[in-house]
């Protein structure tokens, strides 16, 4: 029984971080129907930024979220105006190819700047745990999960209670309708894309403390993010939280009770099963393919 509870604890803690990592990608898809394949590269870029800052200033890496998230917001904003907007208006498929290209370029730049060796941010608490009875709560995972939940709550409040957030929702629902009520859709889309990349910026800082990373880590994380938003529902922020926790739990339970060998296959199995059984995901809305979109 203790092993089961411990496994669930690991799953929930990691799920919190997965939620933040996937929410940015889902936000971008929800607003502009663009699958940002560069999101994994942005995540790892932020992890490298955290590593360099941590080495330079020796601040707690989790606090560096306050630097990496705004920095990545700027990167996202510039990326939108330089590449995404143009590609998106040409052809939706072109946007996908563009983000894929951006991912490859970012990966190459990271390899040039930081090399291909594994990096990890290791604060003093990285290998410590809190103990409650026979249960262990790894400190790094616990702090990272709490920070992720706080950022997600902030993101949710921003989208729900601010003018920007309501504009984002209006533009996601109907860009023509949004224009009619005076919303500058172009700027709102840029802000939404930048917010999505900023979420990856925050996630990257947390990830850098939990796992070692190389430029090639982008492939693993983009696969994981895709499976989370497919499971939760593409475009649904609460869906990405639910999807993230379920996938993290599935990984932990698979490693503990089936075989560790299968744990890394879980996200990909989830994509196949969800697309077969419920293509809109757990919290997504099914739309008719022939329905015209604004």
């Amino acid at each position: 029984m203790t092993e089961l509870v411990q496994t669930l604890v690991f799953g929930v803690l990691v799920g919190g971080v997965y939620s933040l990592v996937a929410s940015g990608m889902n936000l971008v898809f929800g607003v502009m129907k663009v699958v940002n394949l560069a999101q994994g590269a942005m995540l790892i870029l932020s992890a490298y930024l955290t590593y360099s800052l941590w080495k330079a200033v020796d601040l707690d890496p989790l606090l560096l979220v306050l630097v990496t998230a705004p920095s990545m917001y700027v990167v996202g904003w510039a990326t939108y105006y330089l590449f995404i907007e143009r590609a998106r208006t040409t052809d939706p498929a072109m946007a996908l190819v563009t983000t894929f290209g951006l991912a490859l370029i970012t990966k190459g730049i990271m390899a040039l700047l930081w090399g291909n060796d594994q990096h990890a941010v290791t604060p003093a608490y990285a290998n410590r745990s809190f103990t409650l009875g026979s249960l262990h709560f790894p400190q790094a995972q616990l702090y990272a999960c709490l920070v992720a939940v706080a950022i997600l709550a902030g993101l949710y409040a921003l989208l729900r209670y601010t003018w920007l957030g309501q504009s984002v929702q209006a533009a996601a629902s109907s860009s023509d309708g949004a224009r009619l009520i005076g919303i500058e859709v172009r700027k709102v889309r840029a802000a939404a894309f930048a917010l999505g990349v900023a979420a990856a910026g925050a996630g990257g800082a947390l990830l850098s403390v939990l796992y070692p990373f190389t430029p090639s880590s982008t492939d693993h994380w983009i696969g994981l993010m895709l499976s989370i938003i497919v499971l939760g529902g593409m475009g649904s922020l609460p869906g990405s939280v639910l999807g993230a926790v379920l996938i993290a739990l599935a990984e932990s339970l698979t490693a503990a009770y089936i075989a560790p060998d299968w744990a890394t296959a879980v996200p990909y199995l989830v994509i196949i099963l969800v697309l077969l059984a419920r293509p809109q995901g757990l919290m997504g809305i099914r739309l008719r393919e022939d329905m015209s979109r604004a």
Partner: protein
């Protein structure tokens, strides 16, 4: 907005096609000229084992620099072309096909890990080219009846348990571990080694309480460590390949679980990165198996250590030494045969002994050498050889392994 006219598009298209044709023409050249010998290799310079392959690449570079300083091979300067395979089997196949078919290299050197050498050696064999591999000791690599394949370490993965099991056998029965856990990365090299450990230790009465494989992409070891800790094994034998060795140790620390004996394949021999990853004091007592020791009294070894340290500013790792050894083997064969005839080179290696920094190597018809691996242990921040007796660098043996340092 920039737009192409129809004519402009046609011109651009023509230009692109012309550029492609020109590029492709350049790529199908005959490789090095007659005044140089071109050697081709692929290495996982990016990806999860980049940490190990960088010192290996440096081992190749040092050997090449020394060789050219001596006048090269067959009175020709030697060039080395290395491609990055990212630790991907498909890419390594493409790379060796490219080196042979497009770059037309004169000689090949092997890549790293059994996972990559398994397909890469098949490409070399199909093209009837000599393939000296610095790593890749999985049994299945040598069971395909290949004629051009040679392993540049004293022994293969299946022999990894030899020294460790001998040491366990030497202990009084009451002091031997009673239970053991065997986590391993799903890899042809570690699979074989861990299966051999399990079989030999089971024969000694050591009960298996955990035995699971994990995927090479695994980065989160918390659940695996929890599963092992819950079985409370006296001994953990971990089939690690690269950074996964440190990953499991760190997960053990979070679980506050410290086995009395911990043996890991490969990872602890990364003398530069492993202590940094797990914490220098936490390496104390951790065991591994290696093909080479910087202290070994083999011809050229001390000079190799000195030259490598001078050139790269860090001491060589086992991977550096293995790559350098592969170069030595190739050099010996070409020098003795006096030509680049691949059949003659392979025949010569099958019938002669080569003096290297890992000791004298001679091979059976499968390309497997008949030497011994060494048992190494981290002690007081130093990487010491503790068996066999004639190669020991210390008399001490840390047993049991101390608890983790906070």
């Amino acid at each position: 907005m920039l737009r192409y006219s129809r004519g402009g598009r046609r011109t651009a298209l023509f230009g692109a096609v012309a550029a492609l044709v020109a590029a492709s023409a350049c790529g199908t050249g005959t490789g090095a000229g007659n005044d140089t010998v071109l050697i081709g290799a692929s290495l996982p310079l990016s990806g999860p084992v980049a940490d190990s392959s960088k010192p290996a690449y440096q081992g190749y570079k040092l050997w090449l620099a020394q060789l050219n300083k001596k006048g090269g091979l067959l009175k020709r300067m030697v060039e080395l072309k290395v491609l990055d395979d990212g630790f991907d089997q498909n890419t390594v196949i493409t790379n060796y096909n490219r080196l042979i078919g497009q770059d037309r290299v004169d000689l090949l050197l092997g890549t790293f890990s059994s996972k990559l050498n398994l397909p890469a050696s098949a490409v070399a064999e199909r093209n009837k080219m000599l393939y000296v591999e610095p790593s890749g000791g999985a049994t299945e690599i040598f069971e395909r009846g290949f004629d051009y394949l040679f392993f540049a370490q004293p022994s293969t993965s299946v022999d990894m348990p030899e020294q460790f099991v001998s040491w366990i056998t030497s202990l009084p029965e009451k002091d031997r571990p009673k239970t053991a856990a065997y986590p391993t990365q799903d890899d042809p090299n570690t699979d074989v080694a861990i299966a051999a450990f399990r079989e030999q230790l089971s024969e000694l009465g050591v009960k298996t309480v955990y035995s699971e494989k994990y995927a090479p992409e695994t980065v989160n070891f918390d659940t695996i460590a929890n599963g092992i800790a819950s079985t409370k094994p006296d001994l953990v034998v971990h089939g690690a390949v690269g950074a996964d060795g440190a990953g499991l140790v760190k997960a053990f620390q979070k679980q506050q679980f410290s086995p009395s004996l911990l043996f890991q394949t490969n990872s602890p021999s990364l003398v530069e990165t492993y202590p940094k990853a797990v914490g220098a004091r936490n390496t104390e007592g951790i065991l591994t198996s290696v093909a080479w020791s910087p202290e070994a009294n083999h011809a050229g070894n001390a000079e190799f250590v000195r030259a490598y340290t001078n050139k790269f500013g860090t001491p060589p790792t086992e991977d550096s030494a293995n790559a350098y050894t592969a170069g030595q083997v190739l050099e010996a064969a070409v020098t003795a045969v006096g030509s680049l005839d691949q059949d003659k080179l392979a025949d010569w290696l099958h019938t002669h002994t080569v003096s290297t920094i890992v000791g004298p190597l001679r091979w059976d018809k499968r390309g497997v050498p008949d030497g011994d691996l060494l048992l190494a242990q981290w002690q007081n921040g130093a990487f010491e050889i503790v068996a066999p007796a004639e190669q020991k660098t210390t008399r001490q043996f840390v047993n049991p392994k101390p608890e983790w340092s906070s």
